[in-house]
Point group: D2
Chain length 180, copies 4
């Protein structure tokens, strides 16, 4: 199962405003769902670099990606922020997981993101939400904080139980400057 649910993925990608030819970093790609979707939206010229430190997840992400024959998606085993040094600077960044290193990762993203570039950070803990919000707020970038709580109907006998889930937060920020 993808770490980031479909509803959150599509909202995050919509807020990132993908456009042809962009460089996209997907940090903590998990099963690769965001990376695959971004690669499909950005092909043929745009390029997606998906980073994951967990070997098993890298294998799952590569298996998922192989079904789509995406020549513009590279799934890299490695840990952010170190692995980012070797990647071209991005127009768009999605942070789906940060392995306890959100601070150092956002520092690098702040430096490497191209002018006019956008970053979306997901959080399910109060700590991540606060850290992402504070980073966006103090960096003076235009930022948006969004929380999503989803309820799903589940048939129990003849009745429709309303099942809730954990709220998920998104912090989306745009780096000042001309760009796309």
């Amino acid at each position: 199962m993808p770490l980031t649910r479909q509803e959150v993925r599509v909202v995050a990608l919509a807020k990132l405003r993908l456009a042809p030819g962009q460089i996209f970093w997907d940090l903590g790609t998990g099963t690769g769902a965001v990376a695959v979707e971004a690669a499909r939206l950005l092909r043929p010229e745009g390029k997606v670099y998906a980073v994951e430190r967990d070997l098993k997840r890298v294998a799952v992400a590569r298996a998922n990606a192989s079904r789509w024959e995406l020549g513009n998606l590279a799934i890299l085993e490695g840990e952010a922020p170190e692995v980012l040094l070797s990647l071209p600077s991005p127009h768009r960044v999605f942070v789906g997981g940060s392995g306890g290193k959100l601070g150092p990762i956002l520092k690098v993203v702040g430096e490497r993101l191209l002018p006019g570039g956008r970053v979306a950070i997901t959080g399910v803990t109060l700590d991540t939400l606060w850290e992402a919000y504070r980073w966006a707020d103090t960096s003076g970038w235009e930022a948006e904080l969004l929380g999503m709580t989803l309820v799903r109907g589940e048939k129990v006998g003849s009745r429709c139980l309303l099942k809730g889930g954990n709220p998920i937060f998104l912090v989306v920020a745009e780096k000042p400057g001309e760009g796309r």
Copy 2:
């Protein structure tokens, strides 16, 4: 564990506006949490009749109630609406569970509730919510529909995960007429 969570119980009881000397029906009392709380608020003259069809739950509710030495609480094994025939007419009714018989139960509650009396119905399925809302709406009583979604912080390592739960709905209605 009580079927109705603490937060929902206290909100429901606040909206029922208990006052000394009232007769209170607690239908589908489960572990007896609402009944015990109501009996404490209504003692010494007010009286609580708690109904439960599940034998094991009746035992649990009686064990819970015994800790409080409440002389004004009767926990009855039986099924609503049939068992209601033998009870004195209520000023207040809480419907925490209806065993698939919400329609017949609300019919009896509509007839037996004293003028100015109030009823609160909890629901976790869309079906119960709709049935309770429709009943209150078509009966022409003043009614309120409230949904509550709770999020709880849960420590996971050093972080605070925000855990969601199922939404719970309350329909509260007041029968027209002078009364309390």
Copy 3:
């Protein structure tokens, strides 16, 4: 402002699973946001028919659509379900508004939707939610009920107020049969 917010639009479109060449009905198109997005995703062969009974909204939707030079989008002034008679049968239907005629609209959608086709209905009232859910449930189609509650951060002085909004519900259903 669009009647259906961006977050709900992208989730609904994702669940509708658009594919090249499809016929798409957007009923109660409002300012045309869903229709424009669908037309962009379906061009060049796919075709979007957007229906709106309010003349002013039709004008707004046409103005919005004109910016995109979409040859595959027709915005029709008229009322569902009557206006649907003249349209080709759809692979996908989005019901963003129904003007109090959800029952008759869903009857026509049930008949006209192609095998394997999908419909998404949005609702902000309990009545619409119930009617859409019941229709999907009794028609025996595979269906999904989703509620979304969004929270937005709003800067008030130096603080970030968490602003809630009305919950929005989606009922998505797939007609049995082979198709796309």
Copy 4:
């Protein structure tokens, strides 16, 4: 209108577990709703000290309180934490508003709260939520974080619109030690 809604007040008071004879501080009492309710629950021996820095609100709170003839409620014009120096140490504290001084207030509460005492802090901004959570977490007290999102049905024509509101957060913490 009370600053803290009924549903939040009753949940906060339930979590504070009031008992006869306690000293209760209500900081940022606003219109006095929490203070009045606490004074009713704690009378006759328990005592409530309600603090408010806004003169108009003090007048409103006093007018509201006068209807209840509560001999155990003092509404004090003044600003926390300074005004707290003159008050007896509390068993229970409710922080409904902090006028930007939550840090200093919690420092005093941490020192003055009696062993086994409980404090509940409400927050509607991410900043207050984080500050209250961090304070409780680092002080090593047993703490609970609760968020409540309420939905209310509102009749619009013959339909029931589901209206959302801002989420409200509660941080409740208990000071270690024997006490009540």
